[in-house]
């Protein structure tokens, strides 16, 4: 069984490279039993979403109206 720490590395790397089938399988097993790592995964997705928003010029920085 992977540790939470190992899962955080894999979740991060999954945003940058294609994980192997074995890595994905072991990660999924861990998610089944660990709500914190599921939260962590959603947080990583959120960070990516936030950066994308920024890249598209759609972050609501002050001084802009619409």
């Amino acid at each position: 069984m992977l540790s939470c720490k190992e899962v955080t590395h894999l979740v991060s790397e999954s945003l940058d490279r294609k994980l192997s089938i074995s890595e994905r399988f072991r990660m999924q097993l861990h998610f089944r039993i660990c709500a914190y790592c599921r939260n962590f995964r959603r947080q990583m997705t959120f960070l990516r979403q936030a950066c994308r928003r920024l890249a598209e010029g759609k972050a609501p920085f002050d001084s802009d109206q619409g």
Binding site: T8, S12, D16, Y36, C37, R42, L47, A55, G57
Partner: protein
């Protein structure tokens, strides 16, 4: 100036004013990535100039800001590439420079069996609602300044400029493993700060 002055297209002054309205946004965007007010101003200035020169192409665009951000992105990539050529390769992944501190801070999140300790990742709720909040972005900017310059550069190249890990490795002459490690540190540091400063206990329901 072969431009006929009698067309319906706005005059140069109007066009400039329309573009200027986006300046503060663009400067904040550039600052996040370049961390240097002078370089950020330069990149934005070049962007507005380039936009003005291509006025005809932007006239019909409804998403002017998206278009401007796209131009700025290229200027920033150029800047970062120039910087990485100036920086000694060895300096980029040198021991020290907060690396040990980072590792110690992240290790403290886990217990002896490498499972989450007391500071467990919480549920951050509806992303949409958060991303529309101006105050969230102030926290985001503040938190991104906590990363070391090198880590921040790799993170911004990857996430905001959308470069692949391969491109980043080539630009900065680092190995893919180095790249993944730096991205991991960036994400861990950013999520820890946001968890504490924005999503943490007592700040729920913003």
């Amino acid at each position: 100036m072969s431009h006929p002055a009698n067309t319906a297209s706005p005059g140069a002054a109007d066009a400039l004013a329309a573009l200027e309205a986006h300046r503060s946004y663009l400067v904040r965007y550039a600052m996040l990535q370049l961390r240097d007010p002078v370089k950020a101003e330069d990149a934005v200035q070049e962007t507005l100039l380039a936009a003005l020169e291509n006025q005809a192409r932007f006239a019909g665009k409804s998403q002017v800001r998206t278009w401007l951000t796209g131009i700025l992105k290229h200027k920033i990539v150029d800047q970062l590439r120039a910087q990485s050529r100036e920086t000694a390769i060895s300096g980029l992944v040198a021991e020290g420079d907060g690396e040990d501190d980072d590792v110690a801070v992240f290790d403290a999140l886990f217990n002896g069996r490498d499972h989450w300790g007391d500071d467990r990742p919480s549920d951050w709720g509806d992303p949409e609602r958060t991303l529309e909040n101006k105050r969230f972005w102030e926290t985001f900017e503040m938190c991104s300044k906590l990363m070391s310059a090198q880590v921040a550069r790799v993170f911004m190249m990857r996430e905001v400029l959308g470069l692949s890990t391969e491109e980043i490795c080539k630009d900065l002459s680092i190995t893919p493993t180095n790249c993944w490690v730096m991205l991991y540190r960036a994400r861990m540091s950013l999520r820890m700060c946001l968890e504490k400063r924005w999503f943490g206990e007592g700040s729920k329901g913003k």
